[in-house]
Subunit: 427 residues, 2 copies
Amino acid sequence: MTSKSKKDELQAPDRRNFLTVGVAGGAALAASAVAGRAADGEPAITEIQDWNRYTGDGVDATPYGSPVEFENHVIRRDVPWLTADPVSSVNFTPLHELDGVITPNGLCFERHHAGTAIIDPAEHRLMINGLVDQELVFTMEDLKRFPRENHAYFLECAANSGMEWRGAQLNGCQFTHGMIHNVMYTGVTLRHLLEEAGVKPEGQWLLAEGADASAMTRSIPMEKALDDCLVAFKMNGEALRAEQGYPVRLVVPGWEGNMWVKWLRRLEVGDMPWAQREETSKYTDLLPDGKARMHTWVMDVKSVITNPSPQAPLTHGKGPTVLTGVAWSGRGKIQKVDVSLDGGRNWQEARISGPSMSKSMHRFYFDFDWDGSELLIQSRAMDEEGYVQPTKDALRAERGENSIYHNNGIQTWHIKSDGTAENVEVS
Amino acid sequence: MTSKSKKDELQAPDRRNFLTVGVAGGAALAASAVAGRAADGEPAITEIQDWNRYTGDGVDATPYGSPVEFENHVIRRDVPWLTADPVSSVNFTPLHELDGVITPNGLCFERHHAGTAIIDPAEHRLMINGLVDQELVFTMEDLKRFPRENHAYFLECAANSGMEWRGAQLNGCQFTHGMIHNVMYTGVTLRHLLEEAGVKPEGQWLLAEGADASAMTRSIPMEKALDDCLVAFKMNGEALRAEQGYPVRLVVPGWEGNMWVKWLRRLEVGDMPWAQREETSKYTDLLPDGKARMHTWVMDVKSVITNPSPQAPLTHGKGPTVLTGVAWSGRGKIQKVDVSLDGGRNWQEARISGPSMSKSMHRFYFDFDWDGSELLIQSRAMDEEGYVQPTKDALRAERGENSIYHNNGIQTWHIKSDGTAENVEVS
């Protein structure tokens, strides 16, 4: 912070014009292509601001840094009426405030079933038991002696966009699509650990169990466990955050977030899937005929426009406009993203910028000149396996409206002439 | 945090053995390949811990999250004796505590010349003046109407490893190599902004100026400005941190960090380089004959082993050991990294894991069985242009020891039989 005491020492501030040299007539000029921002009378460029005048805090002030005060509105938000108690609830990533493909650790959405466990890593153990040659218990130090890998992956809750099955409900992409984050993980491969224990031939399934008070348990087929799963202890370079499973979590790339067991304490090898609460009464998709789809693990291709959107209206008027959003698929990379400005009648290809990594979030942009008319904006992603994001109506025709899971339908925002935006449905 | 009040309600804790099923005889087993961790008498696996018993904080507790208390030692550190005042000093990234390739925003090293400026983005302006068709002033909203790009780049201070020119000085990679971070940026291309202003044919140089109290100024050749420079407003997805130039900084990929002007307020186009303080008396390389190299912008190929290292000794004894480190080059991607365990006599190729992006940090691993003997460990990187990291002696033979800048020499750690490590030199 600028030192108040230093300011107080100074009287009668010197307001000399520090930028008149090089600026014609001393007047600030407006950028030509970005209309409506004439600089006449704008004082900022010709005055010495506090930040020019006073030295700021030194390098010893914040050993671990935090965002600046002007960004205090950029936070995870929960919806108090959504659940009975915040220890078994969710908060949402502020997608409309982010850009690029990395979600910073402080803003990754949380979903808990018994609150955040705070675990002393020196006391934590990971056990492998069941149909193995040798049952094993690992300390955190043990785990860090196995070969490590680094991968960026999205984690999406199966219930992301779940409220939208029954029509446009929540007014903002933080709430409609914010149960997702995209993080670079460091961990050891689950395959290496299972090989260390020696999986018996009949060991075709794995039960992952968490150490929190909910003792979260999910069944994972051995084929996936040996493919690309990680036992991760770092996210975006540093230790896992407590709310993301510190000191160790399971990473199940492309599959629903509930399977990425946090605070991982046990892996049991078995010969058939378990039928735990979180894979029977929850995380199954109830169909119109009363049957439920089980084991619907893959998070299919999906996208959403993050800006403009209800929480991030257009405030600059007509002219050059940046439309942006994110796309992802549990089946690999995103091949392309199309954008519509007229509710899905006409489509144009968006520009993907930033690294394209398998089962990781992609960032797209669509730069256009807004004429100030109303728009119905949509994005539609296609993944490298050729899957195309469906309309919500197409999903409902197939699966009805009983479920809250696996809604990857196309989202529509209605942009009004004043730049505000609303969550709507088009047919 | 686990609720203390909930704990107090419970008397005579039930210590039933929640993991006896599946564990032979109720005893925890040690991982076989990671020696020396026999589990006899270890209580953790057979007791119910607080984090199993009590629910933790809910999703409304931390709208912007922070690291867990067990990681409180993972911080940027400054060296108080290094400079007269922390407002014109540096702190260092804790490389030995990180993994992967992303530096989290809270741990990115800082270098200030007049402390951290805290700037109201609504008041901030960026001006382009000098040899242009039209002088322009941009608000932050104006800037966000130009096409954006996303790239991960390392930023290394020219003085990183500077103390090491005169022999092994600082005992830990945080201090020898910690003036570097690697971040995913979102911004608009400098090229787009300069095209908007219209650079006159004689405009071959650019002066970038910061809005902090030091009014940092550096000359940049127009060829680089039009190539890959960004005017960035996001890092790792969220707004720039204040200490990294909020609301907007220059990104000059692969070039020395001092040119990445923070709190960017002005870009002046000229026909020759300026001769500002930070490119004459500072950030030049004084040679033995009294002449100084100027304009030594590119940060050449370099690497360092982060673990084990003096701040991160080996604590697990003999057997499977993960050696890891980072490598980078201002000329592109890293082609390969070699590791020596005997002070540079024999070399073996390390494994690179994670995305390989141009002018971005790469992560390497070398998995080996440590026999408990003393080691002299080194890493040596080669970039895609074929440049190989030199020894410190080779550098000194070329440039002497007057400079503190551009030391990309091979670093040696002496690993002792007890696993502790020390900064040493080998010839």
